[in-house]
């Protein structure tokens, strides 16, 4: 082990040495830079979305391989499926996810809703409860972000929900419209006796508790009990009576926890009191349980508790997937470096086109090697075929960057191609991750 520790020490020294060469971000021009970065990012996203839309329009509904055309505007009716992400999910990842979902069979439209837009929606939904809105406005991140999906009339919503769960393992949950509405309905229309003024601030103690529970990315049984018990205590402290609480256990796993009021405490109160109870309930829910509950949802999908039982052959294949993942990261790093060197005029046109040609050729070899593997466990064959398919798209995506470098424009074509390349790489990541979970 001494030799290993020496090796690690040398490797650490090397990284420290190189990190010391990275300049700190100066304060002075930060505002200008952030504006520029946002514009560039928005431009790249817009270009990506426009290019996707253009393809659909050019192909038309009859000739499109997916057989549909994405409508230019979002439908006004309620979405059919909600793919919920943590509130801090990067907006670009959200936009790319929506762009991907929009290409799925049976999808009429898909769009990303970040915390701001979700708050707007929430405010309209609870327009009659200003105190509740005031609580949530203090920290809109409690609402999370989502990709909302509108389906065509003949679409199989169950199949799409399953596909979304498989494709986006970091999603907090995937819900149908009915499931989501059920959640809203249960939060309305009840009443309780209270004369306490409705609080207007989330409780710091609860936010701290949730931070602490979620710090390791997991929610244990004891932690869920603590969170729900504290929510119940919060409700009692704010004057609600008849509060009960429990943490569900079903089928050997935890499905979630809740605190509520006993039925006989709800009778006879007027609308004003009902609104007060609603606000206190939500104050305590968002303070102590909401984000932990999202963690429990992930538990329900087998991500943390009740780990998926993988067949031995699949388990033996995981190192191969890790290797592929590392190789993909290297290829992405190379693309980053080439782009940076060209953008900052640190490389000549000839060197840049050579580097992109080499990258394209390496991607070709990489995709060919993936396609040529013969050690695929039989239960992974279908998912592996999807990986082969996704990886085969990368060389062409790199070729598009090369064409962008050669294009006589202001760089827009290259940047758009780069965005598309990232999307293709993300598709490969999704495919690898599907294999990791046993196909």
């Amino acid at each position: 082990m001494k030799a290993l520790e020496d090796t690690l020490a040398r490797a650490a020294d090397e990284v420290r040495h190189k990190v010391a060469q990275v300049p700190a971000r100066a304060e002075g021009a930060a505002r200008v830079r952030v504006r520029t970065a946002r514009l560039v990012r928005l431009g790249a996203l817009l270009a990506l979305m426009l290019s996707l839309g253009a393809v659909y329009f050019i192909l038309g509904p009859g000739s499109s391989p997916r057989g549909f055309v994405a409508p230019p505007t979002e439908p006004e009716r309620q979405a059919d499926v909600y793919i919920l992400f943590p509130s801090d999910v990067d907006s670009m990842v959200g936009e790319l996810t929506a762009a991907e979902v929009a290409t799925w069979e049976g999808v009429e439209y898909a769009s990303f809703w970040g915390p701001e837009r979700t708050l707007q929606d929430f405010s309209e939904l609870f327009a009659d409860q200003p105190s509740l809105i005031a609580i949530v406005e203090q920290d809109p991140s409690v609402l999370g972000s989502s990709v909302r999906v509108w389906l065509t009339p003949d679409a199989d919503s169950d199949a799409l929900v399953e596909r979304a769960r498989q494709t986006f393992p970091d999603a907090v949950s995937v819900e149908t419209r009915d499931e989501r509405n059920a959640g809203v309905t249960t939060a309305n229309g009840e009443s309780a006796v209270t004369t306490i003024a409705v609080p207007t601030e989330l409780e710091t103690a609860g936010i701290d508790l949730q931070d602490e529970i979620l710090a390791d990315g997991k929610v244990s049984r004891d932690e869920s009990v603590r969170a729900v018990a504290r929510m119940a205590a919060c409700m009692i402290e704010h004057g609600l009576t008849g509060v009960t609480w429990s943490v569900d256990a079903s089928g050997g796993g935890w499905s979630g926890g809740y605190a509520s009021l006993a039925g006989d405490e709800r009778a006879g109160a007027g609308d004003t009191v009902a609104a007060a109870e609603e606000a206190i309930y939500h104050l305590c829910f968002y303070s102590y349980v909401n984000r932990v509950g999202q963690g429990l949802d992930r538990v329900g999908q087998g991500a943390e508790w009740g780990p998926t039982e993988l067949a031995a052959t699949v388990g033996a294949f995981l190192p191969v997937l890790e290797e592929l993942d590392a190789q993909l990261l290297d290829l992405l790093n190379r693309a980053t470096q080439i782009e940076y060197d060209w953008e900052n005029r640190e490389e000549t046109f000839a060197n840049t086109t050579n580097a992109l040609n080499t990258l394209r050729a390496d991607l070709e070899s990489w995709a060919t090697a993936i396609a040529g593997r013969s050690d695929i466990p039989s239960d992974l064959e279908a998912a592996y075929a999807a990986l082969v398919d996704e990886a085969s798209d990368l060389p062409e995506a790199a070729e598009a960057i090369l064409l962008g470098v050669q294009a006589p424009d202001d760089g827009t074509q290259r940047k758009t191609a780069l965005s598309a390349f990232v999307q293709e790489a993300l598709d490969v990541v999704y495919a690898i991750d599907t294999l990791r979970r046993g196909g």
């Binding site: 090397e14 990284v15 990842v93 790319l96 590392a326 980053t336």
Partner: protein
């Protein structure tokens, strides 16, 4: 100095603090200056992304800044930031997001970590192939120089658990590096 009401933290500009609370801002800036390189390095060894590590580190510092009133009161605010970055760096979604941001950061100054010596890169790549908790424990111990008790605090688990992660991680790592003729 930043504009009134605006605090600049690297690329990000946030109007969060009352500018009259100078000590608040100065306190955070000192913390940022002292910890930046360690956090950036930790983000790299756990994510493997030379270009995305800086975004991961910025993300962690921004989280600390948003919660600075509370985080600064902790015995070791650095442990809190390390926990954020250690978790973010091993999440593929966040790692890819940082990668994508780096790819789209066109025309910006370069915050990419220079190319790492292949031998060292191989070592950290094998560390990243370990189960996430083992990789985090080894990175915190051997890159960041943290004691077992500190790692336990960062990762919110017991010292005995950390000892187990370190032992198992080192055993696997030694085996894999030996297979590659690197130790």
């Amino acid at each position: 100095m930043p504009e009134e009401g605006v605090v600049a933290v690297g690329l990000k500009v946030v109007a969060l603090a009352d500018p009259s609370e100078k000590s608040f801002v100065e306190d955070f800036e000192s913390f940022y200056a002292a910890e930046r390189r360690s956090i950036l390095g930790l983000a790299y060894v756990l994510s493997g992304s030379r270009s995305g590590a800086e975004d991961l580190a910025q993300e962690a510092f921004m989280a600390a800044y948003r919660n600075w009133e509370r985080v600064s009161g902790y015995d070791d605010p650095g442990a809190w930031v390390r926990r954020v970055v250690a978790n973010a760096a091993v999440s593929w979604l966040r790692r890819r997001a940082a990668e994508a941001r780096a790819l789209l950061r066109l025309g910006q100054p370069d915050f990419t970590i220079p190319e790492i010596d292949p031998g060292a890169e191989l070592v950290w790549r094998e560390v990243r192939r370990l189960p996430a908790r083992q990789a985090q424990a080894i990175a915190l111990r051997y890159f960041d120089g943290r004691e077992v008790s500190e790692i336990a605090r960062v990762l919110s688990c017991s010292e005995s658990t950390i000892h187990t992660h370190l032992r198992r991680g080192k055993e696997s790592l030694a085996r894999r590096l030996a297979d590659r003729g690197s130790t």
